[in-house]
């Protein structure tokens, strides 16, 4: 493979932002028909490197070669013209227009007098969508699609041209398993056509499943390339973060205290029905299920964002009605929401202000917000969660995806809640920080917090939970203790297989 001409080669790329040297002379190459993983901690520079390649950022130094021809990418369209397609980490679609228009944005097929040729547009789009086995069509308005389906639209966009290289920046973060396997089929297809593929992900199992080689970035510098077949998790991790992680160590079970939260027969329309469960102080309760099983909706109901249609909620044995997030927060409930961009962060605000937002009314000196109190909270959670940001003044939107997620977690931890609900807490977070966050969740339980973890990643649920609730189609199918749970029984329960219901 290595004696072939690379499909794509980068040489000495340097890119700086105010206060950060995001890329410090990075070089690497991708062969045709190769799936090349790009790995590194949050903020290592992966997305930035790809944006340079995609013409979104102009590097200060360095050169880009496509098929060994030096190419300057002055904008995304030029990158596309050179056969480089980009599936972004953060969605970048226009919500108000149709799937087809999004896919062909800027190059809609035309008839005479510049009129859009809608028939061609829709039929071309539907042909691509068919390959992706999606449930929507060319005419669907993008705003009506789920996040996962919007991701599929981004992927479809990459299939419209004869690409030389396709970049996937954390494409699976919000996909279901079924969607993931469609995506992997698409990648296999591209690979067979001799396209060079760059694949960014923090999920080791995916890396081992589909990639051929792995290049690692650390603090904006290139650290080396490994052959996937000849390496293991430990080696990659050490290259990424400079030390090994003991991921498999089972946490000692906590000794649970009194019941902090109990839910009896809670229902909310057709979102979920008749849920029963309880969490004790000092315990982590995991919620596992497929995307759409109703876990997020339960969390939102507990946080006062949805009104239950029936059922009762008890906090410390006392029945409560939670009518709003304000109410929930006052009762000591925190929710780290599922979507950091829509629900978790004010992207245009700085890091400090985002972290202190829920409690800004209490951080006062006289009538004014106390700068000192805010900064000390920021510093505390920056250190505790190892948030990488040039300063507290940095706009959150300029942080890397994983560091944004840490800001959301810091925001809710700093509320010192009694019941902490975290919904997909490690989405987009690197392996090192992921285990930090898992340890943190365990640690919080040990300190007496009642923690609820919602996750679609089985290893995560298995690793952090003392008990696991399995959900399927809005119903709690079964509850497992950490001792009795097995992967198989969990999979059965969340697929609604008969006989597993409690």
């Amino acid at each position: 493979m290595t004696d072939q001409k690379p499909a794509l080669r980068l040489e000495g790329i340097v890119k700086t932002f105010p206060g950060v040297r995001a890329l410090d002379g990075v070089s690497f190459a991708v062969q045709p028909g190769e799936v090349h993983a790009l790995m590194g901690e949050n903020g290592a520079g992966k997305s930035t490197l790809m944006k340079v390649l995609g013409g979104i950022y102009q590097p200060e130094e360095g050169r880009i070669f496509i098929d060994e021809r030096e190419t300057v990418m002055r904008g995304p369209l030029e990158a596309k013209a050179n056969g480089v397609m980009f599936i972004h980490q953060e969605l970048s679609l226009a919500e108000e227009i149709s799937v087809a228009e999004n896919i062909y944005l800027g190059e809609l097929p035309r008839k005479s007098f510049g009129r859009v040729d809608w028939d061609t547009l829709y039929s071309r789009t539907d042909a691509i969508l068919e390959k992706l086995k999606v449930s929507f069509n060319a005419r669907t308005r993008v705003g009506d699609l789920s996040i996962a389906n919007q991701q599929m639209v981004e992927i479809a966009r990459a299939l419209t041209v004869d690409a030389r290289a396709v970049i996937f920046d954390e494409p699976t973060a919000s996909l279901t398993d079924a969607e993931k396997s469609v995506l992997f089929d698409v990648i296999a297809d591209l690979k067979a056509q001799g396209v060079g593929i760059i694949y960014i992900s923090h999920r080791m199992e995916e890396i081992f499943r589909i990639t051929d080689r792995i290049s690692v970035l650390r603090d904006g510098a290139y650290r080396g390339t490994l052959e996937t077949a000849k390496t293991d998790e430990d080696e990659i991790t050490r290259m990424m973060i400079g030390r090994s992680l003991d991921l498999t160590r089972r946490q000692a079970p906590a000794t649970p205290g009194p019941v902090a939260l109990r839910v009896e027969g809670l229902s909310c329309g057709d979102l979920f029905q008749d849920a029963h469960f309880e969490v004790r102080e000092g315990e982590v309760l995991g919620f596992y299920g497929l995307v759409g099983a109703g876990r997020t909706e339960i969390a939102e109901t507990l946080f006062g964002l949805r009104k239950p249609t029936s059922g009762r909620i008890f906090l410390k044995g006392e029945e409560v009605t939670i009518t709003s997030p304000i109410d929930a927060i006052a009762r000591g409930i925190s929710l780290v929401p599922e979507s950091r961009k829509e629900q978790g962060l004010v992207l245009g605000m700085n890091c400090r202000d985002n972290i202190t937002l829920p409690q800004v009314g209490d951080l006062t000196a006289g009538p004014f917000v106390s700068d000192g109190a805010e900064i000390s909270i920021y510093d505390q959670y920056r250190d505790r969660l190892q948030i990488k940001s040039p300063s507290w003044r940095t706009t959150v939107g300029n942080l890397s995806g994983g560091n944004q997620q840490k800001i959301v977690i810091g925001k809710w931890l700093s509320m010192r809640p009694e019941v902490l609900i975290v919904d997909e807490p490690t989405r987009g977070i690197d392996v090192g920080s992921k285990s930090e966050i898992h340890n943190l969740l365990r640690e919080l339980a040990k300190q007496g917090y009642a923690v609820i973890v919602i996750s679609s990643e089985m290893p995560e649920v298995l690793h952090v939970s003392d008990r696991i609730v399995a959900m399927y189609h809005g119903r709690v199918m079964r509850e497992f203790t950490a001792e009795e749970v097995t992967e198989d029984s969990l999979i059965q329960a969340i697929s609604g297989i008969e006989g597993s219901a409690a």
Binding site: P18, F303, P325, I329, G344, V346, G348, M349, L357, V369
Partner: protein, 326 residues
């Protein structure tokens, strides 16, 4: 070294595009007509900008909160007419007319705030509707007549528009004082922070336990309060008013806020920037007047300059002058 110096200058330019445009404009006009920076002229501009400025302070809150307020122009007419009418009413007199007018104007703001904050109606539609509804209300109140104070020498009412303290006109003092207070409210208090959060990302604000509806509601009260203050200055200065005295001001106010760099999408802008925006607009109009342009030509030129300024602002942020959406 020289390279980093260039870059940091570039950085300042990028962040302060509007300020740069302002300075260039001032320098250009002064070279062309030195009378432009004559202290008398400068103070004259500031004084005549005070009413617009006071209104823009309030609209800044609304815009940062992610909404629009197009009703401020007709609300100004309303407050001026009402305060003048009550002033002439023996049951009220100036001492009661002023608080009564503030209360009524705040009620109008509360209607805006309720419909937009609590009922989540579109602010463009609501305040555009309010623009004409308030106009109708004003005409009903006045019976279509102009309002005048009959015995102008026997009232202290003129102090807000005509008076001065330590040689500074009272309208200018009110503008500066209110700008300082509202600047602190927006920049230094929890409430101000919540306005930015609600305008920046309303959903995330809700998830953070911020009472979004109430925050929006209050921004409209702030806006109405500023309008009432501006109406007081207006009525006091002229001791009389037409039903249409505030007509068209809503767009000028919005222009000043946007010139200052607040985003129409919400979540960004500051009181200081708005003050700059107000001054830019004031000086542009003054410059055109000095250039001898007809009053109505001003509308066109003002608009062109606003577009240029906004474009320059965006262009410096993007780092290029031309960025076709392809």
């Amino acid at each position: 070294m020289a390279d980093t110096a260039m870059k940091s200058i570039g950085g300042v330019l990028a962040r302060q595009g509007i300020l740069v445009a302002f300075i260039l404009f001032m320098v250009g006009f002064t070279l062309w007509n030195p009378r432009f920076i004559d202290p008398d002229n400068v103070f004259g501009v500031i004084r005549s900008s005070a009413i617009l400025g006071v209104m823009a302070l309030g609209v800044t809150f609304v815009v940062i909160g992610g909404n629009l307020d197009l009703s401020v122009g007709s609300m100004l007419s309303f407050s001026a007419i009402v305060v003048l009418d009550l002033h002439e009413n023996p049951a009220f007199g100036p001492a009661l007319a002023i608080p009564a007018m503030f209360a009524l104007t705040l009620c109008l703001g509360a209607i805006n705030g309720f419909l937009i904050g609590y009922l989540r109606l579109n602010s463009l539609i609501v305040t555009l509707g309010m623009l004409s509804a308030i106009h109708g209300l004003t005409l009903t109140w006045s019976g279509g007549q102009n309002m005048d104070i009959a015995n102008q020498n026997e009232t202290w009412f003129g102090v807000f528009g005509r008076g001065s303290a330590l040689g500074v006109p009272i309208p200018v003092l009110i503008f500066i004082g209110l700008a300082a207070i509202l600047g602190i409210l927006l920049g230094k208090t929890p409430f101000g922070r919540k306005v930015y959060a609600v305008g920046g990302n309303g959903t995330a604000a809700t998830f953070s336990g911020i009472p979004r509806a109430r925050v929006v509601f209050i921004t409209y009260l702030v806006s109405a309060f500023c309008v009432a203050t501006a109406g007081l200055i207006q009525a006091s200065r002229t001791m009389g008013a037409q039903n249409t005295v505030g007509q068209g001001l809503e767009l000028e106010v919005l222009a000043a806020v946007i010139l200052g760099g607040a985003s129409l999408l919400g979540g960004s802008g500051t009181i200081f920037k708005t003050v700059i925006g107000v001054l830019i607009l004031g000086f542009i109009q003054n410059g055109l007047l000095l250039a001898g342009l007809e009053f109505y030509v001003q509308f066109v030129v003002t608009w062109i300059i606003i577009i240029l300024a906004v474009w320059l602002d965006i262009a410096t942020k993007r780092g290029k002058l031309w960025s076709p959406i392809a």
